[in-house]
């Protein structure tokens, strides 16, 4: 049986040669994302801005303008509507009532539900969320802390397992991944809620996966080929691990693709964020973190003290090995 090989044997793509182009592209992408986040802002869900959200399912598709008019007439504040997958599912967002009295929020929810039930017979309320300003502030804070902590934690781990240059390059690449993913959310205005933070954290985890595998190979090759030029060595390492990078990204994309198509509307944004994050993460492993290592000046000497014993063993074994 002939097996599938996505990356032909002895592939040797000159990734490092392209690194200045890649750096410029990365820079443009990052700045564009930051600009988008700054200008358009993120479409923050009630989790992060407080307020109430009622997800309604109508018997048949409704006109958003008509619905907006009807909700705004109720005098419960400016509503913001969003279609949710199907044309007959709409999420209605409203600001929290001014009064801090608990009954006030209840009253708003009830008012909207009663009005809609009268106007659109058979309407169903699938989900109701109300989050007070205090809680939403805390959720933003813990979300940011979680992302920052995991980036720092992973960078420290990279430093500890490898060298400081690996820690720095990894952290830079992950920050890039997070910014670009958020830029995507600013561009598409897909609602950014708590579960998206989970998706971002997962991206952080998996993007680092790729980087660790390549870093591991760079370290191994640094010990094997003491005299090799750093650029050639990075190219070699990236090419050697390329089949794995492609395979793993593909299996992840296949699994997430199934979730995107068949997994229902509620987690579509979440899945989209993770798919994008995996693409961006794979790109940044090759073009940001590995290339950055060259600029940060990693050399065979970085591993010299601990590498002594290993290098000898590996070289001996590798005598017969064909080096691409």
């Amino acid at each position: 049986m002939r097996l599938l090989k996505l990356v032909p044997d002895n592939t040797n793509i000159g990734f490092v040669k392209l690194r200045w182009i890649a750096f410029s592209f990365t820079l443009v992408l990052t700045i564009a994302s930051l600009a988008l986040i700054g200008m358009r802002g993120l479409n923050l869900g009630v989790d992060f801005v407080g307020g109430l959200m009622i997800e309604t399912e109508f018997q048949k598709p409704v006109s958003l303008d008509e619905l907006r008019g009807k909700v705004n007439q109720l005098g419960v504040g400016e509503s913001s509507l969003q279609q949710f997958g199907q044309a007959n599912v709409v999420s209605i967002r409203l600001p929290l009532p001014e009064s801090t009295d608990e009954g006030a929020t209840n009253a708003v929810v009830k008012k909207v539900q009663t009005a809609l039930s009268a106007e659109y017979p058979g309407v169903q309320f699938r989900r109701t969320d109300t989050v007070s300003g205090k809680v939403s502030g805390e959720l933003i804070r813990t979300g940011v802390i979680a992302v920052v902590l995991s980036i720092v934690g992973i960078a420290l781990f990279s430093w500890f397992r490898f060298e400081w240059q690996f820690g720095v390059s990894t952290a830079v690449a992950i920050v890039h991944d997070v910014i670009v993913t958020m830029g995507f959310f600013a561009l598409t205005q897909i609602e950014f809620d708590l579960s998206i933070v989970a998706a971002v954290l997962t991206i952080v985890g998996y993007s680092i996966n790729d980087k660790i595998v390549i870093d591991d190979r760079i370290r191994e090759n640094l010990r094997k080929y003491r005299q090799m030029d750093m650029r050639t060595l990075v190219d070699l390492s990236v090419n050697e691990t390329l089949p794995r990078t492609v395979m793993t990204s593909l299996t992840l994309l296949i699994a997430l693709g199934a979730l995107l198509i068949f997994g229902g509307d509620v987690i579509r944004g979440f899945t989209a964020a993770m798919m994008l994050g995996i693409l961006v993460g794979t790109y940044s492993s090759i073009y940001v973190s590995s290339s950055l290592l060259i600029s940060l000046g990693v050399t065979a000497q970085s591993f010299a003290p601990k590498a002594a014993g290993n290098a000898e063993r590996v070289t001996k074994r590798d005598n017969e090995g064909a080096v691409p």
């Binding site: 049986m1 097996l3 209840n106 809680v135 992840l252």
Partner: protein, 532 residues
């Protein structure tokens, strides 16, 4: 590397079998399981976003606790100064700035006063601090300042009681399997699966249910009531349903009977068939109630709930049996709510709903259905992909993948973990990620083959060299997942749980288990070449 001692083989096989067995109850519908009399087996719990239901986060009003303590201390100080043979004359007690301060008229008695007040304070916290600081200012004035640890202790005690009261109230409502957990120092999480309309629950939890009976002060003129002016010993209280027009009424401050002496409350109807709440007092409460009603026949008696007058009917005759009715503008439902609130005791602190999430049952069922379909399709796609890429080694990886899926379910059931919607996403992601270890190993074997190594060598090196990267990569994933677990709430936590379990089981199945399978094959078939 490829040698497995017998005990190791058995350990691996046993782990796999136990993992699979544990997953079975979760795959069978709950009803079928119950019919077979196996309802007690560990199953995966569904989160509220999948099962449908309400999640409510309540927060205590700590300012309310501080205010209550201040009031209580003010009363205590007044009583203490009057008590005993030596009465100590004091000036008006000021409560400005959250402190109590007052003059002692006779400065020679200052020390005695301080000593007496000291007996009113209690130790608080671990540091040996007391709950109030007592200080003398200008040699004439005593100032009592609440300490932080004193307030913390008070809030903590209040929250303990509040959690119990909340639990009793929800139990009284007859909802099934509610989860009531204290969170942090001043919050309570309430989760009620299957509850579609949380309005009733919220209004029940929003009631402090502090019930008091006070006599109405008829000497206060309507003008004074409107201007909120009350003579000493009386107070003006809101009376929203006052048939007399103005939504306020004057009552004497003295509490004649309070809700603390209730033993039972239930919804019933009065002679006109209107819904009321019937209450029964304990012995001492019943005696007090009997005495007050005997002495005050013909006068109105105010029933006050949480600082608002519900009604103030005239006392037609002495009520002696310890039974009474609270009438007011009730529906059957609100009368019943009041009964539940009174019976479960009063909340020592007011609770506010700061977060609420309700999911309908249809949405949850839809999510489970689409999540299951997505998981199956993802598995099939990944299995086919691995098979066409790695042949025999793909088969091993696929067996490991399926076992991994079952083991994740098994471990979750055993650990009593909750599956949420993001958890399903985490599950599908785990399917994609679990084969990563096999990809790393298999690609390494391919590489070593290209370098001209023989079968055994390439496989050994493949496992050995890849495991370092697998280990590092999984550690970093765990770091992200653990942080998510620690800082996340609800659904996000569920996602993190699935990821962490998935990482642990996948290392076992993808590395250890496939190695065992490969080594069996190498031993029995002794292949000279491999296709990978």
């Amino acid at each position: 590397m490829l040698d497995f001692p017998r005990w190791k083989v058995w350990t691996i096989v046993t782990t796999v079998v136990v993992g699979i067995l544990l997953s079975i109850p979760s795959l069978i519908p709950e009803a079928t399981l119950a019919r077979a009399g196996l309802a007690g087996l560990p199953r995966i719990n569904l989160g509220l976003d999948l099962a449908g239901g309400s999640h409510i986060l309540l927060e205590a009003d700590t300012a309310d606790v501080a205010k209550q303590r201040l009031q209580l201390m003010e009363e205590n100080v007044r009583t203490e100064m009057r008590r005993g043979d030596t009465r100590i004359e004091i000036g008006d007690i000021s409560t400005a700035g959250g402190k109590l301060s007052f003059f002692v008229r006779d400065t020679t008695k200052l020390d005695t006063a301080v000593e007496r007040i000291r007996t009113l304070t209690q130790p608080a916290g671990m540091t040996g601090q007391r709950d109030w600081d007592v200080a003398v200012v200008d040699s004439t004035r005593i100032v009592l300042t609440p300490t932080k640890s004193g307030l913390d202790t008070a809030v903590n005690d209040a929250m303990d009681v509040a959690t119990d009261v909340v639990r009793r109230r929800i139990d009284e409502m007859g909802t099934r399997e509610p989860t009531i957990i204290r969170q942090g120092s001043e919050r309570i999480v309430v989760q009620v699966p299957g509850l579609q309309n949380p309005e009733a629950l919220k209004s029940l939890l929003g009631k402090t249910a502090k019930l008091e009976f006070k006599l109405v002060d008829l000497t206060v003129s309507p003008a004074d009531i409107a201007a909120n002016r009350a003579p000493p010993g009386s107070q003006i209280l809101p009376y929203p349903d006052n048939p007399g027009g103005v939504p306020a009424i004057a009552v004497y401050r003295r509490v004649m009977v309070s809700g603390d002496e209730l033993i039972d409350a239930k919804q019933s109807f009065d002679q006109q068939g209107r819904p009321v709440t019937s209450i029964a007092f304990n012995n001492s409460g019943g005696r007090k109630f009997g005495r007050v009603t005997t002495e005050n026949v013909g006068k109105p008696f105010a029933m006050i709930l949480d600082g608002k007058v519900i009604s103030a009917p005239n006392i037609n005759e002495p009520i002696l049996g310890g039974q009474a009715q609270i009438s007011g503008n009730f529906t059957v439902q609100t009368a019943n709510e009041l009964a539940i609130a009174l019976k479960s005791g009063k909340l020592p602190v007011a609770l506010k709903v700061v977060e609420e999430r309700t999911v309908g049952p249809d949405l949850g069922a839809d999510s489970i259905r689409s999540g299951t379909i997505a998981a199956i399709i993802a598995t099939v796609a990944v299995v086919v992909f691995m098979l066409v890429t790695y042949g025999r080694f793909g088969v091993y990886a696929n067996i490991a993948l399926v076992i991994n899926i079952l083991m994740v379910l098994g471990v979750m059931a055993l650990a009593g973990a909750t599956l949420t919607l993001p958890g399903i996403a985490g599950f599908v992601l785990t399917i994609g990620a679990a084969v990563d270890a096999n990809v790393l190993i298999n690609e390494r074997i391919r590489e070593e083959q290209r370098r001209g190594r023989n079968v055994i060598q390439s496989i050994e090196l493949g496992y050995k060299e890849a495991s370092r990267a697998i280990f590092d990569a999984n550690i970093t994933n765990t770091i992200a997942a653990v942080i998510m677990f620690m800082l996340g709430t609800g659904p996000v936590k569920g996602f993190a749980v699935v990821l962490i379990i998935g990482i642990a089981t996948s290392v076992f199945t993808a590395v250890t288990l496939t190695r065992l399978m490969v080594s069996r094959w190498l031993r029995t078939k002794r292949p000279q070449t491999i296709t990978i």
